[in-house]
């Protein structure tokens, strides 16, 4: 197959040669067209022509280095030894590394775009207490029911084996049975039920160990204190905590109150339909020697 029968390959070779350094352009064009004519198939001719385009890039790079050589930066022999390992041909190690790096970039960008990789970590799951419906928020003293205590979360740091045990437990509302979802509003949708989730000690609540009164530890005094707090929608106390049920020990009661005060800003506020609201609720602090 004559090279003239493949005008596209001839055009590619001519174009590649003309992008070579001017002193080499005419020579390379004639040389490459002559060598192109020795290729038998159109496919081989196209491969040869495309390779000439790559060769032009490398030759242009070499010409810059040879210019440095002519200026004395590199000697003639040094030019060979300097250039030879710097092989930019498609099969060289350097071009392979470049291609691998580009491919990795493409994969990472694709992963971001398709959501395989999440840019932001997901928020840690919040410990949500059991849903409590229709919890009254009045400030009347609580009387603790004798029934089981619903444990919402244990916020105390891990207690040393020989140290005291302080449990914080959520107290139910005054023994009122769960009435289920309640209807709110008078003129609106009568079927709408508001879900009210009671608050409690939240993330960052103080370590309860340090509030175990030292005198009580020495006396191995234990007991449970019911504490009632009023908290705004940002988890801050809006009033002084009160004792809802005494442990029988003034020291333990004071320790529980101190703990309740120190926890201001770290309470989880009550939510109504997911919206934080101000509310009052009680929880129990249990001081117990292990």
């Amino acid at each position: 197959m004559n090279a003239r029968d493949n005008p596209l390959a001839c055009w590619l070779v001519t174009r590649a040669a003309r992008h070579a350094p001017p002193e080499l352009a005419a020579r390379l064009e004639e040389e490459w067209l002559a060598d192109l004519s020795t290729r038998r198939s159109a496919l081989a001719q196209m491969g040869f022509a495309l390779g000439c385009g790559w060769a032009t890039q490398v030759i242009a790079h070499d010409a810059i280095m040879l210019g440095a050589s002519a200026r004395g930066v590199l000697g003639g022999q040094a030019a060979l030894t300097a250039f030879a390992p710097t092989d930019l041909s498609p099969g060289s190690n350097r071009s392979t590394v470049v291609m691998v790096v580009l491919a990795l970039h493409a994969v990472v960008i694709y992963a971001f775009l398709t959501g395989i990789i999440h840019v932001l970590p997901e928020a840690p799951p919040e410990v949500v207490p059991a849903v409590v419906h229709n919890v009254p928020a009045d400030r009347t003293p609580l009387t603790l029911p004798p029934g089981p205590i619903v444990t919402l979360t244990t916020l105390a740091a891990p207690t040393p084996p020989d140290g005291p045990v302080i449990n914080i437990q959520q107290l139910p509302s005054q023994g009122i049975p769960d009435p289920g979802p309640i209807n709110v509003g008078t003129g609106g949708d009568p079927q709408h039920s508001m879900v009210r989730v009671l608050g409690g000690p939240g993330v960052g609540f103080p370590n309860t160990d340090i509030f175990y009164p030292a005198a009580s530890r020495r006396a191995e005094e234990s007991g449970a204190v019911g504490v009632r707090v009023c908290v705004d929608e940002r988890g801050r106390l809006v009033g002084d905590p009160e004792i809802a049920s005494t442990s029988g020990s003034v020291r333990l009661d004071q320790g529980a109150l101190a703990l309740a005060r120190a926890g201001s800003g770290h309470y989880r506020s009550t939510t109504e339909d997911g919206k934080p609201v101000s509310s009052c609720y009680a929880y129990r602090v249990r001081f117990q020697m292990r």
């Binding site: 060598d35 491969g47 390779g51 000439c52 790559w54 030894t81 930019l88 498609p90 060289s92």
Partner: protein, 92 residues
């Protein structure tokens, strides 16, 4: 010195007195055109190769004239040294 350059030199060392066109070296060394021609130019600029135009009449032979390359005495000596270096320690 890259493996591709060694292949080019090996093609010339098969018959150091022979003159080869780029297409011939490409076939002997199994190299792509994008690899071969920069190497030929580097070797030529380093004085290892010498090139000239084929002295034929393109009209009479029916093809363009080719650029022919051959090893210079320096190139032949240096290329032989390179291969001798590589063959050291290899069991025969």
């Amino acid at each position: 010195m890259s493996l591709q350059t060694l292949r080019v030199l090996e093609a010339f060392l098969e018959d150091p007195a022979d003159e080869l066109a780029g297409a011939d070296v490409q076939k002997l060394g199994h190299l792509a055109s994008g690899t071969l021609y920069p190497i030929l130019l580097r070797l030529e600029s380093a004085g290892w190769l010498l090139s000239r135009w084929e002295e034929v009449d393109p009209a009479s032979v029916g093809r363009p004239r080719r650029r022919l390359y051959r090893l210079t005495p320096t190139g032949q000596r240096r290329a032989s040294e390179v291969f001798a270096t590589f063959s050291r320690g290899v069991l025969a």
